[in-house]
Structure formats: C-alpha cells, structure tokens
C-alpha cells in the first residue's frame, strides 16, 4: 500500500519533469549561494583565528617603542631582570612573507605556533635553522633554511625561534614585547627601567576582527537574500505540485489511504527531494566559493590587510548549515500545503483554478505584515544602534517592500484596465491582474534582485567616485621617492630644492592619542595641500593654523572613534596640545591619523628624519632620470602618481568583485524564478486562453500579448525597485557603513546605471517569458479544442 501510494505520488514528477527540475534547481541554487557564502566566511574566519593565535595581537598587552620600530635587546633583558614578565617578538618581511620570531620559553599561553604547540616538539623548534609555515607560504620562502610545513600557521606568515628570525632579518634588536597576563607582586615602573618604551593595552590595538566582521556580515546578508530568492522558487513549485495533485490525493483517499499515512508519505517525498536538491546545492556552493575565494582574499587584504588563505577546505560548519537550512526551508514551504491537504474535505472538488484563489483576507494579512515590517524599519532608523540593528533594518525594509509589491501593483493594473478601450486590451489587463497571485512570488524575487543591484551599484559607484577624489587629494605629488638612508634623503631634499622642485617630506611616527593608536604626520604646508585637500568640516584658514603649529587636522576615523570634532583640544604629547582645525575624509583606512605642521613636528620629534618624499614637477620623467642617474636612487624606490593611483584603484575594484559576482547570481536566480512560474502557469492557462482563441485571437497574437505582459510586469517591478534600491543604498551608506567602518560615505545617484539595470531586468523578463510564449504559440489547436470537450 505504502509503496503503491509513494509510486502514485512520485509519478507526478515523472509526468512533470520541469517541475521536478524547478524544485531541485531552486533549492540547489538557494543552497549553493548560502553555503558558498558560508564557506567563504568559514575560511576567512579560520584564517583570522590562525593569525590571531600566531601574532597574539589584541590578546596581550604589549610593550612597544615610544618612537620608531626597534627595541634594544638590552631593554628586554633589563625588564626581565626587573621582574617584568615579558616575551620578545621580532618581525620583518622576507620574500613577501611576514617573518615572526619569538621565544617559546617565555611566550604567554595562547601565543600559538600551530602544531608545534600540539606536538610539543620544542627541542626541534629551538634547533637553529628552522622556520614553520603553511604549505603556500612555505613555497614562497627561499631563505636557505629548512621550512617545516604546519597547516595551522596563518597564511603569509612564517614563524621561527627568535634567534633564527633575527639572523634571517640581519637584526639584533626586537620589534615588540608581549606582556604575560599574570605578573609578580612587585615591579618597578616601565619608565624607570626602559624610558624608550611604552605599554600598549590589548584593547587599544586596532581590532581587525571588528572590521572584517562587517565584511562577513555583508556577505552573509547577500547569502540570506539569495537563499530567500531560491526559497521563493521552491515555495511556488511545491505549491503548484500540490495544487495539481489534489485530484490524486482525493483518489488515493477515496481508495482508503489514511490521512496520516498520506501526509507522512508526502513529507518523506519532500524530504527526499530536499536532500537531493540541497546536496547538489552544497556541491555547487563549493564551486562558487572556490571561484570567489581568491577574490575575497584579495579584497580582505586590500581593505584591511588581513591575510586569508586562497584555498578552500570542506568544513562541516558550512555544508551542514547549508543542508539544514535547505531542508528546513523546503519542509516549511511544504507544511502550508500539507496543512491544507489535511483539512481538505475528502470529496471536495480538485479546484484546478486554485491559483486565482488568493482571497481578500490573505491579501489583508499580507498588507498588515508589510506595513508592520516597514514601520519596524522606520523605528530602527530612528532608534537602532550597532551593526546588527543596521542589518535588521535592512531585512525589515527589504521584506516589507517585497510583501507590499502585489498590493502596489494591483491598483495600477486595475487603473489600466479601466482606462482600456478595446475589448482585447480590457481582456489583457484583466488577465494580467488575474495572473498576479501566481506570479507574485517570482515578482517579489525580481524586486529583491533589482533593488539589491541598484543598491549595491550605487554604493560601489559612490565609493569609487569618493575614492578617486581621495586619491587625487592624497596623491597630488607627481613623484614619490623613498631614500635608501638618511644621508641620501638629505641629499635628495637639498638637491631638488636647488633645482626649484617642490619637495614634500613624509614625516610620520606611530603614537598614542586619546588611548588610540594613531599615525602622526608632519606636513610641509603649501599649495599642494591647500588646493587638493577637501575637508568634511573645518575652521577658516585651517592650513595657516596648522602651518603655524597652532592646530592639527585629524582624519574622520580618529574623530569618530575618539569623539573629537573641530575646536576640540587634542593632547599630542604631555607638553603639546592643540585644537582641531579640520576633519579630513580618509576612506578605507582603519587607522587614526593626525596631521600637524612640519616645523612643530620636527621640534617635537627631532629623532625622526624623513625618508619618503613627494615631488611636484611638470616633467616627472626628467626628475626621475636625475634621481636615478645622478643620485643613485634605485628605480624601484620611485613611484609615479598614476602608477600608484592605478594600483589603488585596482585594489578597490577587486574589493567589490565579490559583491558584483553575487549580484549577477541573484539576478539570474530571479530570472529563473520568473521562467519557472511562467512555464508552470502556461499549462494551467490553456483552459483560460482557449475561449479567447475560439473568439478569434490568433495563437501568435496571444503569444505576443504574453511577452508584452512580462514586459509590463518587469517595468512595474523596476519602477517599484528604484525607490527600494535607493533606500537600501541609504541604509548601507549612512547606517551600516558608519557602524562598520566609522565613516559615512556621500551618496551619489547614477541614473544611467539604473536605466541600464532596468533594461537588463526587462530583457531578463522577456528572456524568461520567451519560451513559455513560444510554447503557447505552438499549442496545437486540438489541445485548445479539447478544453471544450473536457468536462472540467
């Protein structure tokens, strides 16, 4: 009995392979995007964890130099001998790999070196001439020492005993000291033992995790959106399949199959299909992630300097979550239909036109939910705080807008119907309105896809525009030169000044201001700065005050983080406090920056000598030739502005490759949803079209009208998507970006882009409608005639 029942149920899919395909493909696409995004996130997080363990950054208090980047080894010994439990770290770059040397005997627990910790092979670790790195990094290291492969070490980093790394880097000093969390009873003050050093609390280190979190949150939001679109497909497919099988269900029950058994069998059937679809989706997701991951790695490195392995591992966390969410989604989609079947009277009619049944009451509920969600979004704009609230706002807004779509579209169609004069056009509008319930899920998917596209396109383009302006501001000099040593630097500066070329030295130190790590610059105020720098806010004659040493300029990141604005005093050193004269936008830079005049900087930090210079010249090529031929500056030490700008833009463009790729995928999924809905509707619509055909409308004409209908729907959705997309952009730029990065991006509008997007959406709708329309045109007349012969 059970087997016969199951066979009867499954035969539906054999008769309707397209529905089977829609079900499996919808679920697979949804799962693929979700698990793909999860895979990327899991991979990146594993990389951060490894990096955090390897570097110990943010975990421990550290002792760092007051100025410069070097700690004398004697200072370390003196601190230990004074009772400070500190552990030395030396860092440097070799072959593009970050070398990290430490002392395993004194390092705090949790300052990990991968598997060395687990295997405990410390004798080997201390044996001279060994480095530890993961396989990728190991290949890059060609330093003449043995590299032990340890997959647990963060990408791009090689670790070794401090003695080994010092030797490789040709150093006899240290980079920083880690402070053990537990210290002995009595210690002298740090300043009494090592006045050149300062303590940096763990919490004060710029937290990479917070920045990268926002990026992953962004990705997760996209993943969820894609999943929602996929679930629309599954929901409508299941709905259709169950509608069409009402007859079968009635027959089976009339033959004596009990209701619980039938429900159980149908549930098993859905579960089976869901597992197959989700399994395919996980595989597909793996491919998506594998293709996107290298770009994500580049993005994160470009944005935050975070290293992420470019290779993908098959982690249980993401494939299991992908499977679970897909199966749950499918079951949730099916449960409504199963509930209906459970409450269907045994001998009720099969109701083949049930698609049109969306009752006034259901519409009312949908309107209430949409209104509630939009109200909630408005409330969050007003009262929300933090990234999570930002994304909650985004979710409420998008879902609310999607649910509101049919409610907005219906009156438009009714108005058009009333305005129509000819019988055919009146029928066209009435028929369009009649199809709305069946298509509304697919249209909502399209709305979400177009809105997301508009939103992300606006954000990326706004960002790019601002970024280019920022590059013009920051890279105003035609040439940048890095001198090999102080002597060469002095020579370059003197010689260029003699030739009448404006030289702008780059004077900078790392310091601590208002408990924030800050890069302090001393600039030679001149036309370059006055003309190119655009302030977010400033006092009059800001540059004059900075030049006179009477004021400072801070970047937006520092201003927001330390709650400073113009007019506030900032303590640069114990005897050096100045008011803030201007706030400068510093996009994409997580670090706080503070700018003072050159003279005041040199007074305060006489030990800092500039090694990098910007040069203003009309003839960069000639200056370059002088520098290389007459002063012996290495060619690689000179960068011209256009190269630097091009490189920066390249980093930027790669940054958003991921978002672009996900956008294309979302639109594709939405197009697929329309195609599937139309294809399934096409079969149902034969009985509705037959009378029109019988009245004299040709099949060709009916097909054309079908295409026009798709265009009408797409156009209406596009029109509605524009405000939704712009709202989405506003949330991204003005709320989420400020929460995630600490700066607000100016929003620009790009009507040409929106028009192009609208065109793409229309084309997608036409493409999706073409095949169903073609099938309609080719419906054999006898199939249409049969409608009148059938007793339905």
């Amino acid at each position: 009995m059970t087997r016969a029942c199951l066979a009867a149920l499954l035969s539906h899919w054999r008769c309707n392979p397209l529905q089977l395909f829609a079900f499996l493909a919808g679920l697979a696409l949804a799962t693929a995007l979700w698990s793909g995004v999860q895979a990327i996130n899991a991979e990146a997080r594993a990389s951060y964890d490894a990096a955090a363990a390897t570097l110990g950054e943010g975990q421990f208090d550290q002792i760092v130099p007051q100025a410069g980047e070097s700690i004398a080894q004697q200072d370390f010994v003196a601190l230990r001998r004074a009772g400070w439990l500190v552990s030395p770290v030396v860092e440097g770059r070799l072959d593009g790999v970050r070398l990290l040397g430490f002392d395993p005997l004194s390092s705090p627990a949790g300052f990990g070196i991968g598997q060395v910790v687990q295997t405990g092979d410390l004798g080997t670790f201390l044996t001279p001439g060994k480095l530890y790195a993961n396989a990728d990094t190991g290949v890059r290291l060609q330093v003449g020492v043995e590299t032990v492969i340890d997959p647990a070490i963060a990408p791009g980093i090689a670790v070794g005993d401090i003695g080994v790394v010092q030797q490789l880097l040709g150093r006899d000093d240290l980079s920083r000291l880690l402070v053990q969390p537990v210290q002995p009873m009595a210690r002298p003050d740090l300043g009494d033992v090592a006045p050149a050093l300062r303590l940096q609390r763990a919490s004060q280190t710029a937290d990479m995790g917070e920045l990268t979190d926002s990026f992953h949150l962004n990705l997760t939001a996209f993943g969820l959106l894609s999943f929602a679109v996929g679930l629309f497909i599954v929901y409508s497919t299941i709905g259709l399949a169950f509608e069409q099988r009402r007859g079968v269900v009635r027959t089976l029950r009339a033959l004596g199959v009990s209701l619980p058994r039938l429900i159980a069998l149908m549930l098993i059937e859905v579960l089976l299909l869901a597992v197959v679809g989700a399994g395919l989706g996980v595989l597909l997701g793996y491919l998506v992630a594998a293709v996107l991951l290298p770009d994500v790695a580049v993005t994160l490195r470009g944005l935050y300097g975070a290293e992420v392995a470019g290779a993908l591992q098959f982690r249980a966390s993401w494939w299991a979550s992908g499977l679970a969410i897909a199966v749950l989604g499918a079951v949730a989609a099916a449960s409504v239909r199963l509930w209906q079947i459970a409450h269907m009277p045994l001998l009720s009619s099969a109701r083949p036109r049930a698609w049109a049944m969306t009752s006034g009451r259901a519409q009312g509920i949908q309107a209430v939910v949409a209104f509630a969600l939009l109200t909630c979004a408005a409330g969050l704009v007003w009262a929300g705080q933090g990234l999570v609230a930002g994304f909650a706002l985004l979710g409420c807004f998008l879902i609310g807008a999607a649910l509101a779509l049919p409610i907005v579209v219906r009156p438009i169609l009714r108005t058009a119907e009333n305005a129509a004069r000819t019988p055919v056009s009146r029928w066209f509008w009435a028929d369009t309105r009649q199809q709305l319930p069946g298509l509304s899920l697919a249209l909502m998917a399209l709305l979400l896809a177009i809105s997301a596209n508009i939103g992300v396109a606006t954000m990326v383009s706004s960002f790019r525009l601002t970024f280019v302006a920022f590059l013009d501001q920051r890279l105003a000099s035609e040439l940048y030169v890095e001198a090999a040593d102080t002597a060469q630097a002095t020579m370059i500066e003197a010689d260029m000044a003699r030739r009448g070329i404006t030289v702008l030295p780059l004077l900078a130190i790392e310091t601590q201001i208002v408990d924030q790590p800050v890069r302090l610059f001393g600039v030679r105020v001149g036309a370059t700065y006055r003309e190119n720098w655009v302030f977010l806010d400033s006092v009059p004659a800001a540059w004059d005050q900075v030049d006179a040493g009477a004021a400072a300029i801070v970047n937006e990141q520092l201003a927001r983080r330390a709650s400073l604005w113009i007019g506030d005093m900032v303590d640069i050193a114990p005897d050096y406090s100045v008011p803030i004269a201007a706030i400068v936008a510093d996009y994409g830079n997580p670090q706080g920056q503070l700018i003072v005049g050159e003279a005041r900087f040199r007074d305060q930090y006489p030990e800092v000598t500039p090694r990098q210079f910007g040069m203003r010249t009309d003839d960069p090529r000639q200056v370059r030739a002088i520098l290389t031929h007459e002063m012996g500056v290495a060619d690689g030490a000179i960068t011209d502005q256009s190269a630097l700008k091009a490189f920066s833009l390249q980093v930027f463009d790669r940054t958003f490759t991921v978002t672009a790729a996900l956008n294309v995928l979302t639109l594709a999924v939405a197009g697929f949803a329309i195609l599937m809905s139309l294809l399934t509707l096409a079969d149902l619509r034969v009985p509705q079209l037959a009378p029109v055909w019988a009245l004299g409308l040709t099949r060709r004409r009916i097909g054309q009208l079908e295409l026009i209908r798709a265009v009408v729907f797409a156009a209406v959705v596009c029109a509605f998507a524009l405000p939704v997309g712009l709202g989405l952009t506003w949330v991204l730029l003005a709320i989420i970006n400020v929460e995630a990065f600490g700066w607000r991006l100016p929003m620009f509008l790009f009507p040409a882009d929106y028009a192009r997007l609208g065109l793409y959406a229309l084309l997608a709708a036409i493409a999706a409608a073409a095949w169903p329309a073609l099938r309609l045109m080719r419906t054999p007349p006898n199939a249409l005639l049969k409608v009148f012969a059938h007793e339905r």
Partner: protein
C-alpha cells in the same frame, strides 16, 4: 602557582623531556635513559675546585642549586621555603645569544601550616637572563637572586603573583659531600651524579604573603648536583629526605622506586661538626604510613624512616599535606616534622606520583 597555566604546552613537553629526575620518571625515561652522547659523565673520586665548582658546568646535561629552609615566626608558627635554579642543556657547552643550548628554569615556594604558594620561571641561556657566577657567587633568573661574596654569606629573593621573600643566610659549618666524596650513585647499574650540600645555613628574613609580611628565622639546606645520565630506565620516582635533628645531627636519605617494586636507596649521616658517613643501598628505609589526597592523587605524607646503624626510627610527617607544586612539572615538596627516636624538622620531596 597560577603561572604554570600561563605556559604553553610546548614548554611543558620540553621541560618534561629535560627535567631530571621528575620528568624522566613521569615519562618512563623516554628520550633520556642512558643516552648521554656528547655530554661529560661524572667519574668516581671527584676532585672539586672551589669556588669554580659552585658555578655552572655546561658540558653536563643537568644541574641544580636547590635550597630549602625550615623557619619559625616570632609567635612560633612554622614556615617552609624553597628556591631552586635548574640548568638543562639541549647540547653541551655555551654560546652567546639566542643560539645558546642552555635552558634555565626555577621554582620558588613558601609553605605555611595552612597554605602553599609556588611559582616558576623560564629563561634562555646566552643573554644574561639567567645564570650562575662562581666568584663572587651569584645565581639568578629574572629578578630572583641568590648572591653574596661567597657561598657562605648569601642574600636570597624570589616572588610570584601572590607571594615573595627576601632572606639573608650565613653558613656556620663546612660543605658536606654526599656518596663517595661527592660521587653519588643513583642505581645498581651505576648511574651517578656529583652531589654536595651546605646544610648549615642560618636564615632570616621576610616572607611576603597575601595575609601580610612575616619575619622568620630558621635553618636552610643547599644541595648542589650535576650530571648527564643520572637514572636507570627501571626507576619510577623518588622520595628524598633532608632531616635536621634537634641533637644537631642531620640525615640525607633518598629512595628510588623501581618498576619491579624494589627500592634503591642511599643516605648520608652528617654530624653536627660536619663529619659524614655514607651508607650504601639497604641501610636506610622509608615506609609510607599515611597517604593523603593531594591534587587529585594519593601521596604519602607520613613516613616511618629508619637508619638502624644510628638508632634512627622516626615518624616524618608533612607540616602541610597540601604542599603540591602545581607547576609545569608537578611534584610534592614541603617541610616535615620529626618525632620518635629523634625529633626535629626537615624537607621532603616526592616525585613520580601520578
């Protein structure tokens, strides 16, 4: 004591491999055993050269400066104190800088009747972070020191997160050579170490405890020992006693517990004037009477100790049974009181109780 948790696992394993005898016993001698290639070996009939031999011997694998003290406060409350500096070499010899194969580590502890505080330190050789200098004498790791013009007059200090001490010591007796003139045999197979002691220190100073500072005075005992291949593969752990009787006589006795259940022991009777008599295996016996649950295991904390040749039949009981050293290498070490045929105080060290 908290500091053992600050140390990474790798250090624990390293020290397990190197720390003789505790680690070797805990590990069933993996890696240590009788392999001593490259390292110098103790030879019978040693000729010591002082003060040079108070300093380090980097050609030997392991070495220690091991001080314990029994003390009293003015109100009669007894206290115990430990200060130990270990040297362990990955390879023989010394090199300047991080390439040094010498590893130093140290333990410090204070035991009160109802408390026990312990901590440890680690340092690399070759950088002046830790070391020993013979003349004037100076042994140190980080800020911990044991130093003075010579070995007879010393200042001693150490501290952990919750305790510390500053002491001065003066020896009023001669050095005592254990075993055969300082050549101490550790098994029937002939494993041996160089071993001498200075058990005649008077010690006075201040203990810093969470409850406040305490002035104490008492007696201290310094052991010096170095070797490369001290134990046999069949030995599981050891029980070591340093006992100071009220009569002025002293007794050092240890027994090594072997896999087959038998014991290997050795002892030295030290007269009040420093005259010594070394006893071979079998003369000294120590038998557990009471075991206590300490740090999740059973450890004997009251012993019957006998040396019939000197009429010793005494009960040796822990002053505080919880004198567990929860360090990278855990073991039991604490002050004891002696009753029975003789009375007095002393120190007990027990290793290999898993």
């Amino acid at each position: 004591m908290r500091c053992s948790k600050c140390l990474p696992m790798n250090v624990k394993v390293l020290i397990l491999l190197m720390f003789w005898p505790l680690a070797a016993l805990a590990q069933g001698f993996a890696g240590l055993g009788s392999d001593a290639e490259g390292f110098a070996m103790p030879q019978p009939d040693p000729q010591f050269d002082f003060p040079v031999d108070h300093g380090p011997h980097p050609d030997y694998r392991i070495e220690w400066w091991y001080l314990t003290a029994n003390m009293q406060a003015a109100d009669g409350t007894p206290y115990g104190l430990q200060w130990t500096l270990f040297r362990s070499a990955l390879a023989p010899g010394e090199v300047d800088g991080w390439a040094s194969p010498q590893i130093w580590f140290a333990h410090a502890a204070v035991t009160t009747p109802d408390g026990h505080f312990a901590t440890e330190r680690f340092a690399r050789g070759g950088l002046e972070l830790a070391g020993v200098q013979a003349d004037p004498f100076r042994a140190w790791i980080d800020e911990w020191v044991m130093e003075g013009p010579d070995l007879d007059t010393l200042k001693l200090s150490a501290q952990g997160p919750d305790f510390g001490y500053n002491m001065t010591m003066h020896a009023d007796g001669p050095l005592v050579f254990q075993g055969q003139g300082g050549y101490s045999v550790k098994s029937a197979d002939g494993q041996a170490s160089y071993y001498y002691s200075q058990p005649f220190y008077r010690i006075t100073g201040t203990l810093m405890l969470p409850t406040g500072s305490v002035q104490v005075t008492g007696n201290a005992w310094l052991d010096r020992e170095w070797s490369s291949q001290p134990l046999s593969e069949t030995q599981l752990g050891w029980d070591w006693f340093s006992l100071s009787f009220d009569s002025g006589d002293k007794l050092m006795g240890f027994q090594l517990r072997q896999r087959d259940g038998t014991l290997y022991n050795a002892s030295t009777w030290i007269e009040a004037d420093g005259g010594t008599t070394a006893y071979p295996d079998g003369a000294f016996t120590a038998e557990p009477i009471v075991r206590s649950a300490v740090a999740g295991r059973e450890v004997p904390t009251t012993w019957r100790v006998q040396l019939p040749d000197r009429g010793v039949d005494a009960v040796v009981a822990a002053m505080n049974t919880n004198a567990w050293m929860p360090l990278t290498i855990p073991y039991w070490e604490g002050p004891v009181t002696i009753t029975g045929s003789h009375s007095g105080v002393g120190y007990l060290e027990m290793t290999g109780y898993e």
